[in-house]
Amino acid sequence: MIELALVLTIPLASSVLLALFGHRRGAAELNSAGSLLTLVAAGMLTVRVIGHGPMILFDQQFFVDPLNVFLIALTALVGFTTSLFSRPYMRVEHDHGRLSAARLRLYHSMFQMFMCTMLVALSTNNLGILWVAMEAATLTTVLLVALYRTPASLEAAWKYFILCGVGIAQALFGTILIYFAAERVLGHDGGALLWTHLDAVKTQLEPTVLSLAFVFVIVGYGTKTGLVPLHNWLPDAHAEGPTPVSAVLSGLLLNVALYAIIRCKVLVDGALHTHFAGNLMMAFGLLTVVVPAFYLSRTKDVKRLFGYSSIEHMGLITFAFGMGGPVASFAGLLHMTVHSLTKSAIFFAVGHASQMAGTQIIDDIKGLIKRSPTIGWGLMLGTLAILGMPPFGVFTSEFMILTTAIKHYPWATPILLTALGVAFASMFGKVQGMVFGEPTVKPLSHNPALLPVFVHLGLVLMLGLWIPPYLAEWYRQAAKFIG
């Protein structure tokens, strides 16, 4: 109990502290310290759940089960490594005069607040609170995306706010419909929105209402996951915000939004006894894998490039969960993990690369490997990993997804393979140009913190070669429960 309270209050307290002292020296260190404490608390929580099984806490408003505990741990881990990366990154931005001390205070405070909202969204048992936390996550990231106050960043933030605001309003309507269906079974008290209560009576929920609710939920939270055709905000927000924000948006927020969809899918599957929710997710997923693949080759901005890549991977994960079954859900969870780790590592490398070059235009960044071998290799290996090269973990999960697709939905396999092939061709060529060649980039004024890049890639490599037994067991339990 105390562990979960710590996981939720540490980021909140850090956010308040940083709002007061974020402009002083040492704010970045405080940010990292807060994130480290959150990670420790999340680790304790994980140990506790492994030892004692699922828990329902705080007047049943919060709960921890095999599905969300691993996402909580992942969120805390990536949050911590991102805060390590952001320390030198933000110093360089400050030196370049792109950010004032007041903006840095806003940045640090909102970073922690954003972590807090995501952790609340992951651990809450109440579908209404889940919605509130997702909306709060949108609001904090709107501020983060607009941090530079350039015309392009304001435009990106506005687009993000309006699109996700509209999207998430649809999700609220979906939540109201679920509540409506639940109220008929559970009666009118606070319990009718609690996920554990809903799960217990899911077979009695009215199927027509639930299927309608799921359409609204997938459109709503799907906007935040970046599902095509609601993905328009994502490349802009990733390109215009500070790079640490791009890393946590891609690595964490998209997962949290998808988590919300999965939670609702479990209920809808229980009520409908058909594959309706799965089919809808497969359709969205397939579209989301295919469309961005063709944008990749036309993209000139390196952060947009990896933004589109994130959309593609979210599509793949959605498709995997849509297929359902123990193998595909296992693969989906694994892919969520490895995508988070790899994509945030790539953004760390890309952030420093674009600082060295003074631009985000791919054609103007050349010869990274000669000026800074660690950044060059980090970017190269990260790209190979995200493109699904063995022996990295992304290969393992993509292989599992594709083999399941061959078995159950053979028609989808060539579509997926073509999209992945196109993505490979367009991304690999671009990154190769950035990493090799005659250097146009200059060294940085602060030493970059590249340890996180290699820690993440190391973990992804490990997951590709060997999944620790307790982690595999964990995925298996969660997959069984998703169905």
């Binding site: 015309p151 109201i176 409506f180």
Partner: protein
């Protein structure tokens, strides 16, 4: 259900249906309105109607938490948000006409189609609902869709935000009519989000204006192309 309650359903039900009709009418009025100031007043009026209908539902069904919900609507949507919007408009001095991306008669026709769709979608829910307000679920969904339409057909930042808030109104109305409102903690959370969102947007308006010399979103598209 107590006998006295059955007795009161017709009258209160009628008043609630009237409120719902006014909500829909206001939705259309906002869709067709060209002036920003009038738009804010219409939004305030919509909040007032929402407050009235929530209050009537609360009193007739003895759902005490709905009283809080009604109070929240009154404070937030009838007083606070219109006040903030008025102040913003004054300080930004944008009183001129609103440009629409589609001409207004076309928008109205699309709006009518949306209402028909909303009623069709809401029909199965209305059949299942046991609330005295079940006839209004279709209207609530129609209000949400009309606000959505307004959002995508307006090119300036302020009307887009009013549309966003009107959508929130429609959702609240849907929650009250289908289920007698969400649990209190959720409603408070939603209200908090709306409030914080509004403050952030207020700051945003000034930034956008500084950067683009206008609150027209189309200027942004141009900035991006360069």
């Amino acid at each position: 259900m107590s006998p006295s309650l059955i007795h009161t359903i017709p009258l209160s039900g009628q008043v609630i249906n009237l409120c719902a009709a006014i909500m829909l009418l206001l939705g259309f009025a906002m869709l067709s309105q060209r002036r920003v100031l009038t738009l804010i007043n219409l939004f305030m009026l919509q909040g007032l109607v929402l407050f009235t209908s929530t209050l009537i539902v609360a009193i007739t069904t003895h759902q005490n938490h709905l009283l809080w919900s009604a109070g929240l609507t009154l404070v937030l949507k009838v007083i606070a948000l219109p006040y903030i919007l008025h102040r913003l408009i004054r300080r930004l001095s944008v009183k001129w006409d609103v440009d629409t991306l589609l001409n207004i008669p076309t928008t109205m026709l699309v709006g009518i189609a949306l209402v028909v769709i909303a009623f069709n979608v809401a029909q199965p829910i209305s059949h299942l609902s046991g609330t005295i307000t079940r006839a209004t679920i279709g209207i609530a969904l129609a209000c949400v869709l009309l606000a959505f339409l307004m959002m995508i057909t307006r090119s300036k930042a302020v009307p887009q935000v009013i549309a966003f808030l009107a959508m929130e109104n429609g959702l609240f109305f849907a929650a009250t009519s289908a289920t007698y409102g969400m649990p209190m903690v959720v409603e408070l959370g939603i209200a908090l989000d709306v409030m914080v969102g509004m403050v952030i947007l207020g700051v945003f308006f000034f930034q956008i204006r500084q950067q683009f010399d206008s609150l027209d979103i189309r200027h942004m598209e141009r900035a991006k192309e360069q």
